[in-house]
């Protein structure tokens, strides 16, 4: 006698949405909902397989965060967490309208530009990354900021900056008036000096 599979991984009459499984993984479900999910998972290999995919996704995101290679606005909790994990955070904080000389070393894991600005009343804030002539190269629209915050912590990709030549980069925080016109909240110049050897070390 051969005993076959019961939990056919292909079929499930009532599959649990991947986003709900992510909530389950994050312990973000209400007690009753969590119990229903757990009973289902102990009876269904297809949803178990989907949960494994969600866990892999979560682990992938954690690894990307640890590698410091995402260009994004981060929270202070993120920076605390990175420090607790033993990651080396290099942070530059130029004043609004000013600049800072900066570099990155082989030992750095996370690179932060802390952009001071008065964000009160700003409903939407965009972060623009410009070249040395002020020409916009990249825009992060509607960045997550709290209206009570006095600065924005922008993470530049450490991988990119470790490979970058000596260069000057301008960051701008802008908001919008009711007519949709842009209003500058702050401009910050980063004068990066390459100190790492390797390709690109001779400058632009």
């Amino acid at each position: 006698m051969r005993i076959g599979d019961d939990g056919d991984p292909v079929t499930c009459s009532n599959p649990i949405d991947a986003a709900v499984l992510a909530d389950y993984w994050l312990a973000a479900l209400a007690e009753a909902e969590e119990e229903a999910v757990e009973v289902h998972l102990l009876d269904c290999d297809r949803c178990g397989e989907r949960l494994r995919e969600v866990i892999a996704l979560a682990e992938g995101v954690r690894n990307l965060a640890r590698e410091g290679c995402l260009r994004m606005v981060v929270s202070d909790t993120f920076l605390q967490r990175a420090a607790e994990e033993g990651l080396r955070v290099r942070e530059y904080a130029p004043p609004a309208g000013g600049g800072v000389r900066c570099t990155v070393t082989a030992e750095d894991d996370i690179l932060i530009g802390r952009l001071a600005a008065n964000l009160s009343g700003a409903k939407r804030v965009d972060l623009c990354i410009c070249d040395e002539h002020g020409v916009e190269q990249l825009r992060l629209p509607d960045i997550p900021v709290h209206s009570g915050a006095s600065s924005v912590a922008y993470q530049e990709s450490i991988k990119f900056m470790k490979a970058a030549p000596t260069l000057r980069m301008i960051a701008r925080l802008v908001t919008f008036d009711e007519a949709g016109g842009e209003r500058l909240l702050g401009e910050y110049t980063f004068s990066h000096t390459r100190t790492l050897p390797g390709p690109g070390a001779t400058g632009m």
Partner: protein, 181 residues
């Protein structure tokens, strides 16, 4: 003969007498499911394996003794056993060695389903292509391990909105990674 038994039929088979093949099949079937429960609640691979073994032992004990009166409720029974065992693990109550001797380590050898392997560069592009708030919510949830309330406070939005944004981001990431939503 090719007979496919569902979970409830396996339970009956085990209860009707010593059937090593049925027991082995039940272990093979339930181990990955219990292990996922363990990963969720213990956040540790080794602890999850310990949990899996202990839950399987307890379950087999109960099934051999015919203590599960409604075989269709195996999942609920195993869930209850998982919860009790996690409590035991937290209390440090270990009776593993004696039971391993009684039931046999070969029968209870943990089945380790492999986690899907993701394309790192593709995932980076997918995460980077999310909207700013979606990316922030995903990173704050999975890396910072912040609660919905903390994320909501940082973003100045409601917890319900955080959940909506997180769900949208998960769907976007799965779509971008080529996994069916």
């Amino acid at each position: 003969m090719d007979i496919k038994l569902n979970d409830a039929e396996l339970v009956r088979q085990i209860g009707s007498g010593s059937d090593r093949e049925a027991e082995a099949e039940l272990c093979r079937r339930m181990a990955p499911r219990i292990r996922l429960y363990g990963l969720r609640h213990l956040r540790d691979e080794h602890a999850s394996e310990d949990l899996t073994q202990q839950v399987l032992i307890t379950t087999l004990e109960a099934l051999r003794a015919g203590r599960l009166r409604e075989p269709e409720k195996l999942a609920s029974f195993v869930l209850g056993t998982c919860r009790m065992t996690v409590l035991d693990l937290h209390r440090g109550a270990q009776r593993k060695e004696r039971l391993l001797e009684q039931f046999g380590a070969d029968l209870l050898a943990p089945v380790q389903p492999t986690m899907p392997c993701l394309d790192h560069d593709l995932l980076q592009r997918c995460v980077q292509s999310l909207k700013e708030r979606e990316r922030a919510v995903v990173v704050m949830s999975f890396y910072d391990e912040q609660t919905g309330a903390d994320v909501a406070s940082f973003l100045g939005i409601s917890e319900a909105n955080v959940r909506v944004i997180r769900h949208r981001a998960i769907h976007e990431l799965r779509k971008c990674m080529g996994v069916a939503v």
